[in-house]
C-alpha cells in the first residue's frame, strides 16, 4: 500500500475514534465503533499482520459490535433520563485534566521507546521447527505462551458465568433471550438455511489452516458462533436451556483438555504445559480441536445473554 493510503487510513481511524467518543447517542457511538473495527482490520492488513486482522474483524468488530448493539438497544429506554443528568463544572474540568494527563503520559511513553524495540521474534523463528507448526503466531499462542491462551479461554468461561449470574431465579437453568417470533418463510430464515453450511466449512478451513497459515481456533470459533446465532435468531432452532449436560460438557471440554495436557507435561516433560519432544504438533492440534467447540459455544452464549425464560415446557 502506498503512503497516501496509509495516511488516509490513519486519518479515518482517528476521525472515527474521535466521533465515537464525542457523539452523545449510545447507538450512534456503537454504529461508529463497528466501522472503526473494520478500518482497524485494514490497518493490521497494511502492517502485514493477517492473524491480528482476522481476529480484529471477527472479535473486535463483529462479536463486540453485536454485543454493544444489544447493550445499546437495552439502554435505549433509560438513556434520555441519563443524558439529562449534568455533572458540575468542577467535576468536568477535573475529568478533562485527568484524561488529558493520561493521554500525554501514554504519548510520552511511546515517544521514549527505544528505536529498535526489544523483540523475541528471532528466538521464536529459531525454535519454530521444534513446535512442528508453520505459523509463528500459532506457535507463540500454543507453545511458547500457552499459559496466556489457557487463561484467555478460562476468562471467557468466567465471563459467561458472570452473564448467567444475572438471570432471575425463576429463569435459572432456562433458555437465554426472548422466544423468537421470526417469520419462518422470511429473508432471515432463508439466510439461516443457506449460510450455515458454507459458514461451517469456512470456519473449519480457517481453524485447520491455522497451523501453517493465518487463521486458527479463535477466528474459526467466531464464525461457528455466528452461524449458530443466525439459526437461533431466525427461530429455526431455539437457544438451548443452560442446564443441559451436553452444553456444559462442550463449554468445559476445551479448557479441561488444555489443563490435562498441561499436567501431562509435568509428568512427561518436567514442566506445566511443556510438550514432550516430537509430540508438540499433535498436542497443539489436539488442544485446538478441543478448544474450537468450547470457544464457539461460549461466544454464542455470551451474545445470547442470561437465561430469561424457563427451559422445559410446563
Amino acid at each position: 500500500m502506498s503512503i497516501a493510503t496509509h495516511i488516509s487510513l490513519a486519518l479515518l481511524l482517528l476521525g472515527l475514534a474521535f466521533w465515537t467518543i464525542v457523539v452523545r447517542d449510545t447507538f450512534s457511538a456503537v454504529a461508529g465503533f463497528i466501522p472503526y473495527g473494520l478500518l482497524l482490520t485494514s490497518a493490521w492488513l497494511a502492517l502485514a499482520a493477517i492473524d491480528v486482522a482476522l481476529t480484529e474483524a471477527a472479535i473486535g468488530a463483529g462479536l463486540t459490535g453485536a454485543l454493544l448493539i444489544a447493550a445499546a438497544s437495552r439502554l435505549h429506554k433509560t438513556e434520555i433520563a441519563a443524558r439529562a443528568e449534568q455533572r458540575g463544572t468542577i467535576t468536568r474540568i477535573l475529568a478533562a485534566i485527568l484524561a488529558t494527563t493520561m493521554t500525554a503520559a501514554i504519548m510520552a511513553c511511546i515517544l521514549r521507546l527505544p528505536d529498535r524495540a526489544p523483540t523475541l521474534a528471532p528466538t521464536v523463528a529459531r525454535h519454530l521447527a521444534q513446535t512442528g507448526v508453520g505459523n509463528p503466531i500459532t506457535a507463540v499462542l500454543l507453545s511458547f505462551r500457552a499459559m496466556d491462551t489457557l487463561l484467555e479461554a478460562i476468562v471467557l468461561l468466567v465471563g459467561l458465568i458472570a452473564i448467567w449470574s444475572l438471570a432471575p431465579d425463576r429463569a435459572w437453568g432456562g433458555r437465554p433471550g426472548q422466544a423468537q417470533t421470526e417469520d419462518p418463510k422470511g429473508p432471515l430464515a432463508y439466510l439461516a438455511r443457506v449460510l450455515p453450511p458454507i459458514g461451517i466449512v469456512i470456519a473449519i478451513y480457517i481453524f485447520w489452516v491455522g497451523a501453517d497459515h493465518p487463521g486458527g481456533k479463535f477466528q474459526g470459533a467466531t464464525i461457528l458462533a455466528a452461524m449458530w446465532l443466525l439459526v437461533m435468531m431466525s427461530g429455526l432452532s431455539d437457544a438451548p436451556a443452560i442446564d443441559r449436560g451436553w452444553l456444559r460438557f462442550l463449554l468445559i471440554v476445551g479448557p479441561a483438555a488444555f489443563i490435562a495436557v498441561g499436567f501431562l507435561g509435568v509428568v512427561v516433560a518436567g514442566a506445566f504445559l511443556s510438550y514432550p519432544t516430537g509430540f508438540a504438533k499433535l498436542l497443539i492440534v489436539l488442544i485446538e480441536a478441543a478448544l474450537l467447540p468450547s470457544l464457539a459455544v461460549t461466544l454464542a452464549l455470551l451474545l445470547a445473554g442470561p437465561p430469561r425464560r424457563p427451559g422445559r415446557r410446563a
Binding site: G186, P187, L188, Y190, L191, V194, L195, I198
Partner: protein, 95 residues
C-alpha cells in the same frame, strides 16, 4: 495478452469504484430509508462485482480467483437479506 488483462483490470476496477461512489452519494442524498437502501444495495453489489472481476486476472491461481468470486457471492447473499430486513423494519415503524 498482458495488455488486455491490464486493460480489463483498469476498466473494471474504475467502473466498480464509480458504482461505490454513486452508491455513497445516493446514501447521503436520498430522502428516506427505502431509497437509500436501493442506492446502497444496487451500487455496492455491482461495484464489488466489478472490482472482483477486475482483480481476477491478477490472482495468479484459479483457487484464489474462486475465493474472490465466493466473497462476492457471500456479500450478495448477506446484503440482500439484510436490506430486506431493514426495509421491513422501516415499513413497520415509519419515522
Amino acid at each position: 495478452m498482458t495488455a488486455a488483462a491490464n486493460l480489463l483490470t483498469i476498466t473494471a476496477v474504475l467502473a466498480g469504484a464509480f458504482f461505490f461512489l454513486a452508491g455513497t452519494v445516493g446514501l447521503l442524498r436520498f430522502p428516506d430509508t427505502l431509497t437509500r437502501l436501493h442506492a446502497l444495495t444496487k451500487a455496492d453489489n455491482l461495484g464489488l462485482g466489478l472490482v472482483v472481476l477486475g482483480l481476477l486476472p491478477r490472482t495468479g491461481s484459479v483457487v484464489a480467483g474462486f475465493k474472490l468470486i465466493l466473497v462476492w457471492l457471500l456479500v450478495l447473499l448477506a446484503s440482500s437479506a439484510v436490506s430486506q430486513l431493514i426495509a421491513r423494519n422501516a415499513r413497520r415503524s415509519p419515522p
